[in-house]
């Protein structure tokens, strides 16, 4: 590369400027809704009515946030989103952990312990994840009723685990496909059993894909509305249902700032997960999740 000329240098400079320009331009598109939400949540109602969408708040304050968290009405009680936030945590955590764990074991079987028909099984599972969730509401309600866990946190966790399995299995399977067979074969010859290989060899290699699976499932389950509203019990409703109630107020003054603050509060945990673990997310995907 010694013969690099100055024209090539300028060309490169222009190229890089275009690249950066494009990237930053696209950033605006992605950031605009968030910007609108955050600034609106910091404005007073009068300012929202008078000003425009993109103006900065003149007198930023957190009143709307306080109201959304602890005193906005979501039904006959006006205690804000606080309680619902913890309701969500109480079923999201077990649902995410269980579906990830089962997905990992499934992926392990489907790659390292294949048997006749295991690929077919996988294919069936994949097609299954296209079933529209509206379809399963009634039969699932009946099944849960029969199992005695209708409208309980247990029931809700169960539903989320069942319909999360297809995706977690897909992630782990595609990841484990990239692990050299020899590793496992050697262990088998040494007499190591199913679980031992899983614990000692596979699990230690799985960190990146576990992150991917947890992020994915956490986002799906936390943000879910349909299952949450149908299968939770009335007093343990998830935060999305409360947010929906809060935003959908049909009469009275529409408090856009409180709506926006509530929307951000409801999104905080997932945002947090993405920002903190985002790096591992791409790394985990790089490590093999995208190899078909």
């Amino acid at each position: 590369m010694a013969e690099m000329t100055s024209t090539r240098n300028t060309g490169q400079l222009v190229g890089r400027t275009i690249v950066y320009g494009l990237l930053v331009l696209v950033c605006f598109y992605y950031l605009m809704p968030l910007f609108v939400m955050v600034t609106t949540s910091l404005k007073s109602l009068d300012e929202i009515r008078a000003g425009n969408l993109l103006s900065l708040p003149q007198d930023p304050n957190l009143d709307a946030w306080g109201k959304a968290w602890s005193s906005a009405c979501t039904g006959v009680q006006c205690e804000g989103l606080a309680g619902f936030f913890w309701n969500s945590v109480s079923f999201v955590v077990p649902a995410v952990l269980m579906s990830t764990l089962i997905g990992a074991v499934n992926g392990y079987v489907l790659t390292m312990w294949r048997f006749r028909g295991s690929d077919l099984l996988f294919g069936l599972l994949m097609i299954g994840c296209f079933i529209p969730f509206q379809v399963v509401l009634l039969p699932m309600a009946r099944t849960l009723g029969a199992m005695g866990i209708a409208n309980s946190t247990t029931g809700l966790v169960f539903v989320h685990v069942v319909y999360g399995l297809a995706f977690t299995t897909l992630f782990f399977r595609n990841y484990y496909v990239t692990i050299p067979d020899e590793l496992v074969k050697a262990a088998k010859i040494d007499g190591a059993g199913f679980w031992l290989i899983f614990r000692r060899i596979i699990l230690p290699l799985s960190a990146p894909i576990i992150v991917v699976s947890i992020i994915w499932q956490f986002t799906q389950v936390w943000n879910d509305f349909l299952f949450g509203v149908v299968f939770s019990s009335g007093d343990r409703q998830p935060i999305t249902v409360a947010l929906n109630n809060l935003v959908n107020t049909s009469t009275g003054v529409k408090e856009y700032n409180v709506d926006m603050a509530a929307a951000i509060i409801a999104a905080l945990p997932t945002l947090f997960v993405y920002v903190v673990a985002g790096k591992y997310f791409v790394r985990g995907l790089t490590a093999g999740a995208v190899k078909g």
Binding site: Y30, F130, L243
Partner: protein, 314 residues
């Protein structure tokens, strides 16, 4: 779990003298993978295929408010095909699904390639592209409804900025409303596709590219001939995930346009929901769900079959 593992580690030493009979441990070992997979298999069988069967049965009944198991032949399908709204919903799905998947793939790939040029601040930019994925559709819908609203959002901003005649009223235009759903959906999902492609790009062996460079190939050629073709598995994964999102696009349509103006931005998922649950026509809803499933199967299965049949490496 621990117990089983311990027993199995112990098996090789204790079972030295019993070569004639297959040991219990071995037999369990042989069955274990299947046993482990069984719960998932049963779940899929009952909660996916069982329910599909149930829906199929319902679509042949005159069920209204609650399921009623009487045979009604294909009456519900006849009613469905005679329903203008259903055909519009299908057309919208094709428009929305097609545009959404293509734009997402294009934007995702482009952003990934741009971001793969050793960009300073890559982490930050990547987080910005990725964060919409973290938001629920209720949040997305609320925010975009505001931005696209002609009285409050972009159009007013343009008017205030001196462009009196500027129009940006897709949200209230029956012909264009479905594309607002595309705008919001692309915003939400393209970052994820970008991450998938970026991961794919990072997984490509540098030495191949170096070799091509030495041979004098230009960067665009290298991308066209070598890099993009090698991303085929990523295209597959992305396509699957995006189709999945498109077919199930329900919350976003509900939150953004609620199917309106009129029912111009209805999609099959909202159609099914409103007929089965709001209008007390469960039979018709089930028929539309069956049609949705058949469409998905018709699109996905051949694609999946050809992809999974390809020899795998790695």
């Amino acid at each position: 779990m621990d117990l089983t593992a311990q027993r199995m580690t112990a098996a090789p030493e204790s079972g030295a003298g019993t070569e004639a009979k297959p040991r219990l441990g071995d037999r369990i070992d042989a069955w274990l993978p299947k046993i482990v997979l069984a719960p998932t298999f049963v779940c899929a069988l009952v909660f996916i295929y069982g329910y599909i069967l149930w829906t199929a049965v319902l679509s042949l009944t005159p069920s209204r408010m609650l399921p009623k198991y009487e045979f009604a032949g294909l009456a519900q399908f006849e009613a469905l095909f005679a329903n203008e709204r259903w055909w519009l919903a299908l057309k919208n799905l094709a428009l929305f699904g097609g545009t959404f998947v293509l734009v997402c793939l294009a934007v995702g790939l482009l952003l990934a390639i741009l971001l793969d040029q050793k960009i300073r601040g890559e982490g930050l930019i990547r987080s910005i592209y990725l964060y919409p994925m973290a938001l629920s559709f209720i949040v997305t819908g609320t925010a975009w409804k505001w931005i696209l609203n002609p009285e409050l959002g972009i159009e007013r901003l343009l008017h205030d900025g001196g462009f009196e005649n500027a129009r940006f009223d897709w949200l209230i235009d029956p012909e264009m409303a479905i594309y607002t759903v595309v705008v919001a959906a692309v915003w939400q999902s393209s970052g994820f596709v970008m991450a998938l492609f970026l991961a794919g790009l990072r997984g490509i062996d540098d030495s191949i590219i170096k070799a091509a460079q030495v041979d004098g190939a230009s960067m665009p050629t290298i991308y066209r001939r070598i890099i993009i073709p090698s991303l085929r598995p990523v295209f597959f994964s992305s396509f699957m995930i995006l189709t999945h999102i498109a077919v199930k696009s329900f919350d976003l349509v509900m939150a953004l346009t609620n199917g309106g103006p009129g029912f111009s931005s209805d999609v099959p998922a909202t159609f099914m929901y409103s007929f089965a649950f709001t209008r007390n026509q469960i039979g018709l809803g089930a028929a539309s769900a069956m049609m949705m499933l058949m469409i998905v199967v018709a699109v996905i299965v051949p694609f999946m079959y050809s992809e999974l049949r390809r020899p795998r490496h790695g």
